[in-house]
């Protein structure tokens, strides 16, 4: 029974909460009422049996609890529109208590949680808490932030939504693309935080990756015509399919070309590949297409690097950033030889923008190593080591440095 309720919580929390928030216009009241409804389930279901439609039972119980609570608190400071909402909500309850379906309001709520009038950190925290049902403590742990700070961030954002009048609406027309971008940026940041921990010991924090994929799935299910949303889901699925092969037993990083490809999650790869477009036009779809090239290659030397270089060039036209330029340079090196890649990296190095980005130095070092220039490779590895923050990445670079130094021409 406990596990049944726990899995119900896991699967339906976000959806039920979204409907309650939409109906009540108040995050705190909705969260409290939903907690109470789950507590009531824990108490009543063992005695009275599981209702026929458990999620609907939770929703309608939470609705009654919310109305009771709002009455008891007599709602000092409630605005007229809030009281109106509550009256409507109360009138809509009653007859349809056993209703199987309640409206899915998660799409509206994603846009509310990721509204640009809320800062990015709070957008992330609020999305994880509201749509994924993560506790404040879990989110705080994932982002290595004190619980109290995270709690304050969430409460502040919830209050701002109410007092500033941030709407529960999917933006229409011209406003949609920019707002959708903000939603996708939040999902991708959550994924990346899990996939590549910027500091600390774990190479992968699986939970965040799973939650990001869950959010991307919700977005695709609710907006199936958005090719960028499909691209984002494909991108996260394809990257995540390599999760188990990215680190060895000591937590040390294993490069793409050295990973055991038979251990990639092929079910996830198939799901991701099915979302890939022939001619991707948006940045997420292009990045997904790049990930797809790696996923399709049975062996590293079967990788179609000239297609990858072409896709990076497309991406670069859209987002001219140094990091994308670096990836383009690496793809060019793989397709046409290290000298071509080094030439492009030299240009990036001259700009100075990536001085603190260890991947530029390690990419340069790797290409030099491949060309047999071990002396310059060693000094590039040292530059990388000077700026790297993740300890697993650091150990990887140290290993490589020892390798080139132990080469006859590498010691100086």
């Amino acid at each position: 029974m406990q596990s049944e309720i726990a899995s119900l919580y896991r699967e339906h929390y976000g959806r039920i909460l979204a409907s309650l928030i939409r109906a009540l216009g108040n995050f705190e009241l909705a969260e409290d009422a939903l907690q109470d409804a789950f507590a009531a389930a824990v108490e009543q279901w063992p005695r009275e049996g599981v209702p026929k439609t458990p999620a609907a039972w939770i929703f309608s119980t939470a609705r009654h609890k919310a109305i009771d609570k709002a009455r008891r608190q007599s709602w000092f400071g409630a605005r007229r529109d809030e009281i109106q909402r509550l009256i409507e909500f109360e009138m809509s309850s009653g007859a349809d208590d056993q209703a199987e379906a309640f409206p899915d309001e998660r799409l509206r709520l994603i846009f509310t949680c990721c509204h640009p009038a809320i800062n990015r950190e709070a957008q992330i925290a609020l999305s994880l808490r509201t749509l994924c049902g993560l506790t404040t403590e879990e989110i705080a742990r994932a982002f290595v932030t004190p619980s109290a700070t995270m709690a304050q961030r969430i409460v502040r954002a919830q209050r701002k939504i109410r007092t500033a009048g941030i709407p529960y609406e999917v933006p229409l027309g011209d406003a949609l693309p920019a707002r959708l971008e903000s939603v996708m940026a939040v999902i991708y940041l959550v994924f990346n935080e899990g996939y590549r921990a910027s500091s600390g010991d774990a190479v992968v924090r699986n939970d965040l990756c799973m939650e990001a994929i869950r959010l991307a799935r919700i977005l695709v299910a609710l907006m199936p015509d958005q090719s960028e949303a499909r691209g984002l889901l494909a991108l996260t699925l394809l990257h995540d399919s390599r999760r188990d092969t990215r680190a060895d037993a000591n937590g040390d990083l294993i490069l793409l070309e050295e990973q055991d490809r038979t251990r990639w999650d092929h079910r996830q790869i198939d799901e991701g590949l099915a979302l890939i477009e022939e001619t991707p036009i948006g940045p997420y779809a292009i990045q997904a297409a790049i990930a797809a090239e790696h996923a399709r290659a049975k062996r590293p030397d079967a990788t179609d690097w000239s297609r990858i270089a072409h896709l990076y060039a497309l991406l670069l036209e859209m987002r001219n950033t140094s990091v994308i330029a670096l990836n383009h340079a690496v793809a060019i090196a793989m397709a046409h030889g290290p000298a071509h890649g080094l030439e492009l990296i030299a240009g990036l190095e001259a700009s100075g923008e990536l001085d603190d980005y260890y991947l530029m130095w390690s990419a340069k070092a790797d290409l030099l190593r491949r060309m047999g220039n071990f002396i310059d490779a060693a000094s590039a590895y040292r530059r990388a080591l000077a700026v790297v923050t993740n300890t697993a990445d650091r150990r990887f670079l140290e290993r490589r440095l020892v390798e080139v130094l132990s080469h006859p021409q590498g010691s100086n």
Binding site: A78, P116, R156, T163, A164, G165, I166, P167, A175
Partner: protein, 117 residues
């Protein structure tokens, strides 16, 4: 002549007040409002929601950007204000973006406090 009287204060200090102190301040505002209304000099004025509810809107090259929080730089000065009715923050931001000043300075959007009557 018409004058705008802009009230500055420290929210953190206000939050530390005891209930009695807070009540005294509220009472003071009630008295001032009653007096200024009675004098015929009142043109309008409302308390604003706390600074946490603020959003700053800028338009650069025709693109609207919004940031969470109040206007915080000091090289620009308050030049005026509009009090508008909007259905939600999105509409308020869209209106703010049409104010010419949004193209070089910025517009702070603050909800007016709801006072239960």
């Amino acid at each position: 002549m018409e004058y705008a009287l802009l009230i500055y204060g420290n929210e953190a200090d206000a939050a530390k007040m005891t209930e009695a102190e807070g009540h005294a301040v509220f009472q003071g505002y009630m008295e001032f409002t009653k007096w200024i209304e009675g004098s015929g000099k009142m043109k309008g004025g409302r308390p604003l929601e706390k600074i946490g509810s603020a959003t700053t809107v800028r338009v650069r090259n025709g693109k609207t950007t919004t940031t969470d929080g109040p206007f915080a730089e000091t090289k620009e000065q308050l030049g005026g204000f509009y009090l508008v009715e909007a259905k939600d923050l999105d509409e308020a931001i869209a209106i703010a973006a049409r104010i010419p000043g949004a193209n070089h300075g910025c517009i702070e959007v603050r909800p007016v406090m709801n006072i239960p009557m």
